[in-house]
Structure formats: C-alpha cells, structure tokens
C-alpha cells in the first residue's frame, strides 16, 4: 500500500458536536464528541435552536482537539467529510459551513456524507465489510433495513412508515415518567421485568420489510391508562420488557427474513439504538451459530452520533471520486441513494 489516506469527519446533525480523524478508512486517530445532552435534559428533548447555538460554541474547540489528539496538521488531510443530512437543519448548517471554511482555507477536497451512511460505516471501524451485506439502522430518527451490494452503494429495502423505533422508546419512556433520553432507561427496566403484557407486533403486508411503531406506542399508552382507571398498578419493569420484546421481535424477524432473501454475508447493526442490550442479545442469539453470516455490532461509542463514522463513510466516497463544491448545503431530507 502506498501513502496513507487521512480523512477528517465533521458531524453536527443533532445534539453532538463531533470531529474525527480516520486513517485509511478504518483506523481512528481521534474521535472527539462534545455532547449537549445535559443542556437539553432541561427541556425533556433536543431543542433545535439551542442545539445550533451549542454547535457554534463548540466547533473550533472540537476541531482543534481532534487534530491535537491525532497529532496531524491540515496539510496531511486528503479530504474533509461532513454530514450533509438528514438531521436538524440549523444544526447541520454549522458543521457544513465549518467544513467548507476549512476545506477552502487549505484547498482540501470536501465531501458531503449522508448521516445514515455514516452510521453503517461505523462498522468498518470494527471489521472489514464483505458484500453483499445488510444493515439494520435503528436510531431516534431512523428505522431502516439497508442492503449494500458493494462499497458506497445503498439500497433501502425497508423503513418505518410512522415513528422511528427510538421515537417510540422516548414516548413510552415519557408515559412511564422516565427521564430523557428514555431509551437506556427502558432497556435497563426491561432487564428486570418479564414480557408478560400482551402488546401488538406490526408485521404489515406479507414480504414487507417496512416497520410501524405507532400502534405499539398507542397500545402501551392505553395499557397504562386503562390500568390507572381500574385503579391497578402496572409493573413498569414488565411493561418495559413487553414493549422491548415487541420491538425486538419485529426488528429481528424482518432482519432474518431479509438476510435469507438477499443472501448476505454480513449483518451490521447501526444507529443509537444499537446500544440497546436487549436488541444486541437477540441478534447475537440468532446469528451466533451461523457459519456463513457474520454479525457485527460496533461498540457503544461508535453507535451513537460521532464523526469517525462520517470520516469512515467519507473515505469510501473519496475513493469513488465523489466531491462537493463550496455550494454544499445542509439538507435535512437528504436521500441516501445520492451516494449510489
């Protein structure tokens, strides 16, 4: 192999300001994440305007720290990869404009990256990808099954028709009066309870890889409401376990079906909900004994939003010759197929 490839990643799509340096697409030289979660806890969720303000406060500090930790300078960089969308537009704008300024100042190629492509490529920081592969992407804003026949090519074969799984987690957490963000609390409670409360599973039409979680969410709210009216107390542990079981059943079953139909070699878990212990355990149980299908689950720090994953995706796009101009914009509704 010739000269090393160095990519800087910048990610500001929601409430994390992150800059990373990745070597040869797979080695993390630095991955600095400034989380705003403490600030947003006051409001019980991410407030877009406040997220944007924090990004402006953090951006140069995080840039400097990422370069320092990687011990390299701008002249070493081959490209700057930045999250172009989807996400909160005002938040995305900070990363996009900072990336453009750095790229312009040093004459470095600029590459706009789809946030979900980043989540999927977090896996390449753990293990080399083998194609064809299937990625299950589960986060606060996304629930998708993405099929990849080769590097940098993304085909969404299933997605949520209403709420993302992470959104359902947050709403159920609120119903149970758990603090924000709710996902980890439900996951923890679920470990202590039994899935004995009957809740629906939305399979949708035969053969569909789409998801729907709004019915499940409503069923949880109704269950709590009806119990209150009867003066009964529902065990939050059991309810969390039952809800989680319902979500996991659907996610895992659809993933297994898609794995069979598309004859993939690897299954990658991606997105913030990949941190969920219940989901990890369920997938591991299914694929543990498989000799021809490899399951990859990135560590927690690479599942939540971070810039190393954006740099990792940027590395492949760089090799494909994809470049953005100084007119790159933040695009909150960006489609992942732009990279194909």
């Amino acid at each position: 192999m010739g000269k090393d490839q160095w990519i800087m990643g910048i990610e500001t799509s929601c409430d994390e300001t992150s800059v990373a340096i990745v070597k040869n697409g797979r080695e993390i030289a630095s991955n600095v994440v400034a989380s705003q979660i403490e600030s947003h806890k006051r409001f019980g969720g991410v407030v877009p305007e406040i997220a944007s303000r924090h990004h402006v406060e953090q951006i140069t500090i995080v840039l400097e720290e990422a370069l320092k930790q990687a011990n390299i300078s701008f002249s070493d960089l081959d490209a700057i990869a930045v999250t172009e969308g989807p996400g909160l537009v005002g938040a995305l704008l900070i990363g996009v404009n900072a990336a453009k300024a750095v790229a312009f100042a040093h004459g470095i190629p600029l590459i706009g990256v789809h946030h979900i492509a980043g989540h999927i490529y977090a896996n390449r920081l753990v293990a080399e990808m083998e194609f064809p592969l299937l990625s299950l992407v589960v986060s606060g804003g996304h629930t998708e099954l993405v099929f990849m026949k080769e590097q940098g090519h993304f085909e969404v074969i299933g997605e949520t028709r209403d709420d993302a799984a992470g959104e359902a987690y947050d709403k159920v957490a609120r119903t149970l009066s758990l603090p924000y963000p709710g996902g980890p609390h439900i996951d923890r409670l679920a470990q202590e309870g039994e899935p004995i409360i009957s809740l629906p599973r939305a399979w949708l039409e035969e053969g569909s890889y789409d998801f729907s979680f709004s019915g499940l969410k409503s069923a949880v709210i109704n269950t709590v409401h009806n119990a209150e009216q009867r003066g009964e107390k529902i065990s939050p542990e059991d309810l969390a376990a039952s809800f989680q079981q319902s979500v996991i059943d659907v996610l895992v079953t659809k993933t297994v079906n898609a794995v069979q139909e598309y004859k993939v070699k690897q299954v990658l878990l991606a997105g913030g909900v990949a941190a969920n212990k219940g989901l990890r355990a369920a997938l591991q149980e299914v694929f543990e004994n498989s000799t021809d299908i490899q399951l990859i689950i990135p560590p927690l720090s690479l599942c939540t939003d971070n810039a190393a994953m954006i740099a990792a995706a940027g590395s492949i796009l760089f090799e494909k010759g994809i470049r953005s101009t100084m007119a790159l914009n933040a695009n909150p509704g960006l489609d992942i197929s732009i990279h194909n």
């Binding site: 407030v47 951006i59 840039l63 400097e64 300024a101 004459g107 100084m326």
Partner: protein, 234 residues
C-alpha cells in the same frame, strides 16, 4: 493589512476584501436566498478576482448580530473557523454598527440602523459620528418601533434611519417624529461589508473559541425555562 469581512446576519449577504487603505472588492446582494449555499462561493470568487489566497489573509471581520439567528450563525461559524484555521485574528462587529457606518458618516445627528424583528419589533441602537469616528450612544436592543420612536422624540436632534426594513416601520416612526426623522435612500440601505472591514481593521482580536453571535434575545425554550425555574424558587 488584508482583511476579509463577512455579513450574513440579515437578507443582505456581503463579503469584502480590504488591503491596507484600499477596498479591493465587495460583493453584496439583497435577496431572500439561502446564505449557506452562497456565501462560501462568494468568498471564493471574490478572492480569485482579487488574486488573493486564503493564506494571504491577515484578519477576519464578521457581523456578529443581531439579525436572523441562522444567518448570523452561518457568518460567525465561517469567520471563526477561517480565523482559527488560518491562525489570524477575528473581530466581531455589531451588525447594526456596520449598518450605521454604511450611510451615516457625513450625517450631522444620530443614526438609528434597524432590522425588523416581527410583531412590530425592531433590532436597533443609536450611533453617532464625531471627527470621523463612530460612537455607540445607546446600546443595541430589541423593542417595539413605536416605543423606540417615543424614546428618540426626547432627543433634540435629527435622526437618520437606515435599513432594508424601513418600509415596514417608516409610517410609525414618521407619525411620532415627523421632520426630526430622516430616511436613507434605497441605495444606502444595504449594510456595506467594506465598512464592516474598516470598523474591524484596527480593533483587537477576540478569543476565537469562545466567540459567539450576539443574539440579543434568548431562545424561547430557554427563556421559558428560566422563567419557570425562577417561579419555582419563589
């Protein structure tokens, strides 16, 4: 000294290059179009035309607000990042001061630049030139234009009003101030980025990492939260 100035705080998008005592170039549009898409290409093309490279720059001056939250953040983010990465000083100048400087230099009286802030409100301040130097007479603030007119009525001097949003507030101001109010011609209503560069040229640089826009008002969620928590304490 080679200075790049950037103003994206309102509908006017402005970029200028100052080289010593010469304005090398200036780019101004007054359009309701995406600043995020257009400002870097404007900088790129202006610098190309002026045969300047990023490494030639010695200072960045930015309009730091008030104005559109998103607009101000775009300019401030680019300015901060450029200044940090090129290791040169960054100076933030009030967007209102930049606007006042763009038409008021030879006016004998006070200058009130203004930006519409919806629901009858304006961002404004009061400035005055003395021996070629601009001074802030009343700090930048957010208030109803009719309240501002009443405050200015107390002053025994002519007031020059500047800004693209004048048509929205001119009737209210005229009603209170009559002949005391002077209104800038449309050719002098856009804030000029070269004036911004000149204002910032001799000022001391900011701490880049901690530099933030001057929004003047808090985000709604934040002010509600502060109010709710104050009430709790009582």
């Amino acid at each position: 000294m080679k200075v790049l100035s950037i103003d994206t705080s309102n509908y006017t998008l402005g970029v200028a290059l100052l080289d010593g005592d010469q304005v090398k170039g200036e780019y101004i549009t007054n359009l309701k179009k995406n600043h995020s898409v257009r400002v870097m290409p404007a900088i790129e093309s202006l610098m190309n035309d002026c045969d300047m490279k990023p490494a030639d720059l010695e200072k960045i001056v930015v309009a730091k607000g008030p104005g559109s939250y998103t607009g101000v953040r775009i300019g401030v983010t680019i300015a901060k990042t450029l200044a940090w990465t090129l290791n040169i000083p960054l100076v933030g100048v009030s967007s209102l001061e930049g606007s006042a400087a763009s038409a008021g230099r030879y006016f004998d009286g006070c200058i009130s630049p203004l930006f519409d802030a919806r629901r009858g409100q304006i961002y404004t301040g009061l400035y005055q030139y003395r021996q070629g130097q601009i001074y802030s007479i009343q700090k930048d603030q957010l208030l109803l234009s009719k309240d501002w007119a009443a405050i200015l009525k107390e002053r025994d001097e002519k007031i020059l009003f500047i800004g693209n949003d004048l048509p929205i507030h001119q009737p209210i101001i005229e009603e209170t101030l009559g002949g005391q109010a002077v209104f800038a011609e449309i050719t002098e209503q856009n804030p000029r980025p070269s004036e911004l560069a000149l204002l910032g040229r001799d000022r001391e640089g900011e701490d880049i990492h901690s530099f933030v826009p001057n929004y003047i008002r808090l985000a709604e969620a934040e002010s509600n939260w502060i109010k709710a928590n104050k009430e709790k304490k009582i």
